[in-house]
């Protein structure tokens, strides 16, 4: 029963992959969405009927003396609740994708839906897999599917570059992750998650092991320093971005840390590293997002920032709050991306620059509403979902470490500023278009409505979620009292952007001129991308070229050429002094001897019968002589 969650996307992937061309693109999209929805329903039933943690083993792989790599699914509260969220958001995005990809139907679009199913299947494998090996399998599957999807427009150079970058960056993380898995096996002697949780106890190497595992999460979730692929992944179609950022790929890193929290919590060093990474990435991404002008990249940086907040919560020891933020974030981030995709569709895929848009409110009212709800939820404005989940983190951390909480609040201020800035620039004001923008069709707006509702109301599930996870949470009244800073910060951020971009209190262009160096610094992501591309990659190339010239051409080639020359001289010497003078003569002599000897031997083979018989007679003579001699003796 539970395995059906995994089975539906897999079957959908196989069906579409094999018969997609036959059944058509639209049918492929429907199958894909149907598989997602069925998977969601099964997950929901499983969640409601679940009694306790359950480990369902399908197959015992590699049975060794006292351990084996089990292939199965492990269902507990954490995994099944995340599965429900993921399958739900994915299903909504799948439905939306049918509408979004409409303009590409007929161009092998079924591939796109097949990749989607593979993506969901891999993600579910991460969520439900009962061993680290299976988790790693899904981890790689997600990487593969994201590579295929980001590079879906593979005829365009930037898309292939972006997909390659995502793959390489993930590979660095995966390399760390698999080393972490190996080291964990070394430490605990098992990879099965239930056994790992049972045996979790402090051992000396655990800091290194968890740090290596966290390295995988850094790669997958786009944290510093492996973050550059995340904004560039916007090269893919918008549903891909939504899926990547809301439910599947980037959530995998956070989920993995939360999943292995019994092990991570054993090492305070690792937790502090996670916190530091989270805080740095959070501020970094928020600052960068304030200056970008691509409708999707701003949201991408906000994802980075929000994930960093989750990591901070994990590092500070609040996995439940982090997972709840992951859930609500999945809702409103998917909503934001879907709305952004709707904007792009409404503008006929002409531009993604927010300053070339404007005044879309009157053309696309539903999209405007959806985007505003998502933006307010992301800002943490009450009573939207983001408010509850973010302030649950902030108020928890506040008691423990005021500095970190303050930094989160600063990031929230920036978040509120940049996301409403985007909303105001795109939807308010005035815009001029060659082609009339249009509202999107119901197949796209309906998913946005569902997600809007959840972004609006999902936050009230906070207390249900915490009691479901058996985690303590303060009462509603004191929670609101504690969250006063969060509300203030959200209002300040929203007002700031309102004043700047709607009321034009200060002309943004003057500010731009004033803070140009800072703007450039932020826009280039603090030169990290520049460093990666130009210093690390090109430096590597330059060093390679230098080594090629210095070592390869001069030393190795020179050595090889020198050997060849010496060898030629030697060969000439051998040829002149040994080959011609001795070997040839000896061979010639042998040939002559053989011929003459053969000529002599030919006489024996005369063919004359009497001569043969005569030889026989001679033999008889010899035998008789021997007999007589023997008798004499």
């Amino acid at each position: 029963m539970q395995s059906l969650i995994l089975l539906f996307p897999l079957l959908s992937f196989i069906t579409i992959g094999l018969f997609g061309r036959r059944i058509g693109d639209f049918a492929s999209g429907v199958i894909n969405a149907g598989a997602g929805i069925l998977s969601f329903i099964v997950a929901l039933i499983t969640m409601l009927s679940m009694k306790g943690p359950e480990d369902i083993v399908f197959y015992k792989f590699l049975p060794l003396s006292n351990t084996s790599v089990d292939i199965g699914i492990y269902i507990d509260k954490l995994s099944i609740s995340t599965t429900v969220t993921v399958t739900f958001v994915a299903s909504v995005i799948f439905v939306y994708a049918i509408g979004y990809m409409r303009y590409l139907f007929g161009n092998w679009t079924f591939k796109f839906f097949a990749y989607f199913s593979l993506f969901l299947f891999s993600m579910l494998l991460i969520l439900l897999g009962d061993s680290l090996i299976l988790m790693f399998f899904g981890w790689e599957g997600v990487g593969l599917a994201s590579y295929l999807l980001i590079g879906y427009f593979h005829e365009e150079k930037f898309a292939t570059k972006a997909s390659l970058e995502a793959f390489v960056m993930n590979r660095i993380g995966d390399w760390s992750f698999i080393l972490g898995i190996i080291y964990t096996f070394w430490l605990f002697g098992t990879l099965s998650l239930p056994k790992l949780f049972e045996n979790a106890s402090y051992v000396p190497g655990i800091t290194l092991a968890t740090l290596l595992l966290f390295g995988g999460a850094v790669g997958k979730s786009g944290q510093i320093p492996l973050h550059t692929w995340l904004p560039n992944a916007m090269a893919g179609p918008t549903p891909v971005s939504a899926l990547l950022h809301a439910a599947t790929m980037v959530a995998a890193g956070v989920y993995m840390v939360a999943r292995l929290y019994p092990i991570f919590s054993l090492s305070s060093t690792t937790l502090s590293y996670i916190t530091i990474t989270g805080v740095v990435t959070m501020l970094f991404a928020a600052l960068v997002a304030t200056v970008h002008d691509d409708i999707k990249k701003i949201i991408a940086f906000s994802t980075m920032s929000q994930l960093a907040i989750m990591f901070t919560a994990l590092g500070m020891g609040f996995p439940t709050a982090a997972m709840f933020h992951l859930t609500t974030h999945a809702f409103f981030k998917a909503l934001l991306f879907l709305a952004a995709g709707a904007v792009i569709t409404g503008l006929h895929h002409h531009t993604q620059n927010i300053f070339e848009m404007g005044g879309l409110k009157k053309y696309m009212p539903i999209t405007f509403g959806a985007f505003m709800i998502g933006a307010l939820a992301l800002s943490g404005f009450p009573p939207f979902a983001g408010y509850f989940s973010k302030d649950a983190i902030v108020s928890s951390i506040m008691d423990k470490n005021t500095l970190v909480a303050t930094l989160i609040l600063i990031a929230s201020l920036l978040t509120a500023y940049y996301i409403t800035r985007e909303a105001f620039v795109v939807f308010l004001g005035e815009g001029h278009y060659h082609e009339e923008p249009h509202e999107v069709e119901p197949v796209m707006s309906f998913p946005m409505l569902i997600l809007s509702f959840l972004s609006l109301m999902g936050g009230f599930l906070l207390w249900n979620y915490f009691s479901y996870m058996n985690s303590p949470i303060e009462a509603p009244s004191s929670f609101i009292a504690h969250s006063i800073y969060g509300i203030i910060v959200a209002i300040v951020g929203i007002s700031l952007s309102y004043l700047l971009y709607v009321k034009k209190f200060v002309d943004p262009n003057i500010l731009y001129e004033l803070f140009k160096p800072i703007h450039t610094l932020m826009k280039s992501q603090f030169y990290t991308e520049y460093i990666y591309h130009n210093i690390i990659a090109k430096g590597y190339l330059a060093i390679s070229r230098l080594v090629y010239k210095a070592v390869d051409r001069i030393i190795i080639d020179g050595f090889v050429n020198g050997v060849a020359k010496v060898f030629m001289i030697l060969v000439r010497f051998v040829w002149e002094f040994i080959d011609i003078r001795f070997i040839d003569i000896i061979l010639h002599k042998i040939v002559i001897w053989t011929f003459s000897f053969g000529r002599k031997l030919k006489i024996i083979q005369s063919g004359y019968l009497n001569q043969y018989i005569f030889v026989i007679l001679l033999g008889i003579v010899i035998i008789l002589a021997l007999i007589i001699k023997g008798m004499r003796l």
Partner: protein, 98 residues
Amino acid sequence: MDKYYLLLGIVLVFIGIFGIIIRKNLITMLVATEIMLNGVNISLVSVSHFLGKVDAQVMSIIVLTVAASEVAIGLGLVVSIFRLKGYEASEEITELRD
């Protein structure tokens, strides 16, 4: 007395060998072979007489049979060689092929 018959057989075998060596004519060579066979037969029969058993005479009968076959094949060969190549002396037949 039997050992003299044995000696007679041996001497006849050697006469046959001598005949094969010195003669050119193929038919005469075949006759020399027959002489050798008969020499063997005499030896066998003398041994049979000497031991008082008839087993050796069975061998003789088989030798007779083989001699008959040999003559049939040998003469057939001689005739075909003569017909195909037109000569009949052993010195001309030094190669198996044409």
